[in-house]
Symmetry: C2
Subunit: 331 residues, 2 copies
Amino acid sequence: MNRPGKNKFSSLYERERKKIDMRLENILKKRSPKSLYDPGAYIINSKGKRIRPLLVLLSAKAVGGKFNDVYNAAVAVELLHNFTLVHDDIMDNADKRRGRLTLHKKYNNNTAILVGDSLLSVAYEYLLKDCDSNAKYVISSFTRGLVEVCEGQSLDTDFEQRKNVSLNEYIIMIKKKTAALAKTCCEIGASIGGGSREEIKALASYGTNLGIAFQIQDDLLDITADEEKFGKKIGGDLIEGKKTYLLIKALEKAKSDDRKILSEVIDNKGIKPQNVKSYKLLFEQLGVIESAKKAIDSYTRKAIKSLSLIKKKEDKELLTWFAYILLNRNR
Amino acid sequence: MNRPGKNKFSSLYERERKKIDMRLENILKKRSPKSLYDPGAYIINSKGKRIRPLLVLLSAKAVGGKFNDVYNAAVAVELLHNFTLVHDDIMDNADKRRGRLTLHKKYNNNTAILVGDSLLSVAYEYLLKDCDSNAKYVISSFTRGLVEVCEGQSLDTDFEQRKNVSLNEYIIMIKKKTAALAKTCCEIGASIGGGSREEIKALASYGTNLGIAFQIQDDLLDITADEEKFGKKIGGDLIEGKKTYLLIKALEKAKSDDRKILSEVIDNKGIKPQNVKSYKLLFEQLGVIESAKKAIDSYTRKAIKSLSLIKKKEDKELLTWFAYILLNRNR
C-alpha cells in the first residue's frame, strides 16, 4: 500500500488544527462562573491531536462543503470528546493526560464530574450554531454517538470484571467506545456540508473503520510508544490489567506456560510496572504486535475503500492521507 | 389568594403522572448493556413527582397542543432532571433520594458518573423524537437549560467555600440550578404544542418563577417537612452547612448572639444532627420561615400573572392549580 509522505496535506492539517485550537481557546474564556469554565479551559486547551474536528472538516470538504460552515460542529465534537476524557479519567483514576495532570487530579472529582457535564452542554450549544434545516439529522447523529460512547464505556468496565473476553466482543466494545464518535464526526460534517445520503453513508463507514483502527493503534501505542511523546506511562494498560487488543489476542495465541503468565495480568488485576518489559517481549514472541499492526492496516484499508464515491480526487487523497497519519502517529 | 382544592385537575395530574411513570419504566428495559441501563432504571423508576414532565404537557395544552405530541419531550426533561440528581448526589455525598439509596451508594461512584451521562444521552434521544421543523428551537432551549443547570450547580458549590452569600446571589444561583429547567419545560412544551412567540415567552416566565418558588420551598421543606413523607433526613441542609434561603435570610436578620450562632453553621461547615431542632426554633423566632413562605407566595403569584394571555380559561386554571399544589407539597 502506498503511504503518501509529508506534503501539502500536512500544512492543511497544521493550519486547521491551529484554527480549532484557537477556537477552543476562546470558547470558555468569557463565560462564568470561572469555577466551572476555567477547569474546562484547562482540559480543552491541552494540546490534543484534534482528530475528530478534522474529520468533521474533511468530511464536509469531501462532499463539496466549506470548512467555514462546520467549524462550530468541529469544536462541538472535540468538546464531546473532552467530556468523555474527563469522566473516563475519573473512572480510571488516571493521573496524566496529554502530558499534564488529569482534571480531577489538578482539581478534584466533584469539579471534574461537573466540568465534564458542562463541556457536553457547551458541545450541544456549538453544534446547534451550525445547524439549520438539517438540525434533527445532525443532532440525532451527535446524540447517537454520545449514547454509544456511554454504552462502550460501560462494556469496557464490564470487561474488567470478566475473565474471558473474545476478540469479537472487544471489537463491538471499541466500535461503540471509539468508532461511534468518529462515525458521528464524518456524518455531521458530510450532512452540514450538503452531502447526499450515499456520500454521508460512505463517510460514516470511513469514520467507523478509521475509529476501530485508531483504538487498536491506541492499545498498541500503550506498549510500543516513546513515553515522552506519548504523554502517558508506557504499559499503563498492562499495569491496570486492561483487556486490550494485545492481551486478548495474546491469550488466544498463547499455550501452556505463556498462557499462565498472561492470565496473571487478569487474575491479579494488573502487573507491576517493572514487569512491563517482559510482557512486551512475550507479546513480541507471540506475534501479537504484528497481529495488531495487521488489524490496524486492514481496518484502515476498509476505511479508504469506503471513499470510492467521493467525487474529487484531491478530497479522496486527503482523507487517505489522514488515515495514514493516524496509523503512523506516535501518541 | 384563592387556593383551588382537590378537583378534576388532581385526577388529570395523577393520570398523566402514571403515564409518564409507565413510559419511563419502559424506556431502558430493552436496552443493553444491562450494567448501564439497569442502574439507570433504578433511578428513573423511583417515584418522583414528575413535575417537569407535567410542565411540558400543561404548556403544550395551554397553547392548544396535544399531550400525545409531547410525551417524548416530557420524558426527556425527566431524564435530564434525573441525570442532574445522580451527579449531584455524588457531589453532595448524599445517602438517600426519594426514600431509597442514592445510585452511587447502591452501586458505586464510577457507575453513577456513567449512568448520569447516559441518562442525558437518552434524554436528547427522546427529545428528538418529538422534534421536527422546530428541532433547532426546541433543542436549543433544552441545551440552554442544561448549560444553566451546570452553571447553577457550580455557583452552589462556590457558595460552600464562601463566608457571605447575599440573597440576590442566592436567587441568581437557583434561577440557574432549578428555574432554568422549569423554564425549558414550558418553552419546549409550548413550542412543540404550536404556541406563538408571545405564548412561549409567557409560559417561560411562568416556568422561571415557579422554579424559583419551588427551590425556596425545597429549602423550607428541609426544615419543616415530615421526615417519612419527605424521604430524606430533616435538617440535612443545616447538617451540611448549605447556604439555603433560610440560612441566608436568617443571617441578614439576626443580631449579636443569634448571628454568632448562625455563623457557626458556616464556620464549622455544618451542625450536628442533634442541633437541628434548636436551629429550627431560631429560624422561627427570626421570622425566617415566614419570610420563605412569603417569597414562595410572591414568586408563585408572578408565575400565575404571566398566564394572562393563555386563551382557554380551563388551561389557565389548570396551570394555576398546578402552581398551588407545588406550593403545598410535603416532599
